[in-house]
Subunit: 467 residues, 2 copies
């Protein structure tokens, strides 16, 4: 276990709730707290407290009482960081929190760097690197799907998969390196055909994991959706209808109300991120008038394009607008949903006529809605849910969401491709061994068995303070 | 102890930190948690856990793990509410918090009303009503001074004072009522002159407490300051200079950064609230041009008026503007500080000349500053600090901040005034007893010995959820 001499502290909660938690970790945690904390029960010897106990008492600055608090004690190695740790649960006043941190610093602690608690957990062997990274994703997860992927990763699902691949490769390299040690004796410990099939198998798994990144990334960051269409077709009415429904749902549970003004919506456990919606309220948002270039710009980041038109529009114009969009998404797996809005203003004949005359290509959808009267929105939600392969999000299925992991897996795949080529072309063992070593290296980078200060620095600087 | 059959739950933290705490209280707290929480150590029988212990484990929804959490257990009566209570410390993801609350509700808890935890603490005799009220003030306290008053009150300083007054009166009424029982026998158990001196003493104390309300109120809500002066005299530069200095200070301690865009500044432990600053950036903010009415409107809510003028201005005009303000604050204890700004653009002669020619009245101050070059701001801060009697804010000095307490104390004082008049005018004992009873009643309302559902409802509805 790596022992860090410095004791760190930071607020672990933020905002303006009823209570706040300040977290302290390091070998001197209890000694530092003792100087500012007096248990209400004077029989308690604080520095001798057992782990997993809570002690009630006062935080004081000399004679002056700052707050009455609950202090939870954790003892090395049975804590989040693996070090002696203390959590002070105080009243959430900004003044009290600032004062307690000030007192901790005066008595020898220092403010933690972002993610430093989790970094210490990693360095002390409490979790591997991909688990540590997933902690940040878990804290940030806002939908059922993004949560499920993050908690699977925190609980080591992904790490176990990577370790399995790595140990299969390790077994073979050790055999090959044994051969190399024997030099010119021309013995063969490693069965070449078995090696080949194992390398192919590992490469397949790495490719599969890498290919899950696209799905994982949109789940983690929200599925990007663009709403487009001619002026006054009801684009902003539609967006507001979707937002309001979700906000009403969310606000049923107090404390979970979203204060964000971002246009994100959670539908059936998936988060959708509506991009470039700033222009929806003015009349400049157009498919036809502003031309093809502007439309293509709008759809470039989206996975789904909602083209909103009116039930009284001619099918020719609708088809023309749809074609402009199709032209921009050609060859990608972006999906087009044509929404014929304002069906409350039309009749069944309008709808039947459009159904017949609007041409759809594979993957396109056509829905009839009234954003104003909230008609057809459920169908739209079902359709949005079909865009991604939701079945893949299960505890058994590992989905990666992290660009660093994706890049490492691509490197693994490339190295293994060279190994397969090498085997096919009877390249000397020592060269093949280098490529296998490289694949092992990149797998080790994911879990942190191989790491550098730079990698660690990059990973943890994006964490919040107190985590 | 009052036992409430319903078990309540609520988030106790808010915002987006590393961890979040969900609080549960009521007789079924542990039973409900047991259904969704599994300790990592399977030897632990959760529902038999002792108070003040922390248990590590998983929150699950059926088979699916939602989060790994720390659960703190508190046992009746040794908890905040006096009931069995549980605090779940989970990752701060919005999804996780919502899910855990959902699971608790599914299993029989209900969402707590605002302040319901504290209300239960009061009903279960863990604190009196004035202490319960101070909990909300403590959570909201943002300056050293407002914190000090709140923590004194939470710790029962004010309650002890009120109880003392009340018991002195109680002793005497019981003697008087004894006399009434003896009816026409004309015995006198209560010494009238002693009673008179005690009533005078209690009334004095009640008056003193009531008179502390003005100070307490500005400390709690921030001392209101208005900045006024002619266009381009540097009013907004001054405000920004003050705001920036404080923000730089605050941001040294991470997690305590203020996200508010309110114009409040903490100087030497006191909060100043700059009111009506919206107009500072345009040129319509004027003393002379807009006339007397507008100026008086601006200063009506302020305790301190900063009149900003330029070093190159004529003393006649400055005096004229100062007079308009003085006219508006006549008879109040509002204070005028004349700030001669832009001294970097003037010379010592300008300053000497103005010093000589600007006329000051009792309580006025004259300072020379450069808001742009941050000169003289420390003098201004010292001057602002002198506005209120800071010495009064000590643990020994009770300061009231609550309008309800103030009104009750005024009632106490009025009742006791009638008692003194009654004694002086030899009014019959039974009438005097009514007024003493009334004073006792109002003192009891403060601490909650006498209360109604309506009073409780009014008090706790302003609390945050989870407190």
């Amino acid at each position: 276990m790596i022992r860090n001499e410095e004791t760190i502290c930071a607020p672990a909660t933020s905002g303006s709730g009823a209570i706040a938690v300040i977290r302290i970790s390091g070998s001197r945690s209890l000694k530092i707290c003792q100087k500012i904390f007096t248990p209400a029960d004077n029989k308690i010897k604080f520095t001798e407290s057992k782990g997993f106990t809570v002690i009630y008492g006062d935080i004081h600055d000399g004679e002056e009482v700052i707050d009455d608090v609950l202090v939870s004690v954790f003892r090395m190695p049975h804590s989040y960081t693996g070090e002696d740790s203390v959590e002070i649960s105080c009243h959430a006043s900004r003044y009290i929190q600032g004062k307690i941190l000030e007192l901790l610093i005066e008595n020898g602690a220092r403010i933690a760097a972002p993610g430093e608690f989790t970094q210490r957990a990693f360095l002390n062997g409490k979790m591997d690197l991909s688990q540590a990274e997933a902690v940040a994703d878990l804290v940030a997860s806002s939908s059922e799907a993004s949560h499920r992927i993050a908690i699977n990763q925190v609980r080591g699902g992904f790490s176990a998969e990577i370790s399995k691949l790595r140990s299969e490769l390790l077994r073979f390299t050790s055999l090959i390196e044994l051969e190399l040690d024997f030099g010119e004796e021309d013995v063969e410990f490693a069965d070449r055909s078995e090696l080949r099939s194992i390398v192919i198998h590992v490469k397949e798994l790495a490719d599969n994991l890498a290919s899950s990144f696209r799905l994982g990334n949109v789940i983690k960051n929200g599925i990007p959706v663009t709403i487009t269409g001619k002026p006054n077709s009801g684009k902003s009415t539609l967006l507001n209808a979707l937002l309001n429904e979700e906000r009403a749902l969310v606000s049923e549970i107090p404390g979970t109300t979203r204060d964000s003004i971002e246009d994100t919506i959670i539908i059936n456990g998936l988060e959708y991120r509506f991009i470039d919606t700033a222009g929806l309220h003015d009349s400049s948002d157009i498919v036809e008038n502003l031309g093809i270039k502007k439309t293509h710009e709008k759809i470039i980041q989206a996975s789904v394009i909602l083209l909103v038109d009116e039930v009284t529009e001619t099918p020719e114009l609708i088809n023309k607008r749809a074609d402009i969009i199709r032209d921009g998404i050609k060859g990608s797996d972006k999906r087009l949903i044509i929404l014929i809005n304002k069906i409350d203003l039309g009749n069944q004949n309008n709808i039947s006529f459009l159904k017949e005359k609007i041409s759809l290509e594979a993957g396109d959808s056509l829905l009839f809605i009234s954003a104003r009267e909230l008609t057809g929105l459920d169908d739209l939600k079902v359709k949005l849910g079909e865009i991604i392969e939701k079945d893949r999000i299960s505890p058994e299925n590992i989905i990666i969401t992290n660009l660093r992991h994706y890049e490492a897996l691509i490197h693994v795949s490339e190295s293994l491709k060279r190994v397969i080529n090498g085997l096919d072309n009877k390249i000397p063992e020592d060269l093949i061994a280098i490529d296998i070593r490289q694949a092992i290296h990149y797998l080790g980078e994911i879990t942190g068995e191989i790491t550098t200060d730079e990698i660690l620095g990059n990973i943890f600087r994006d964490f919040c303070i107190g985590k």
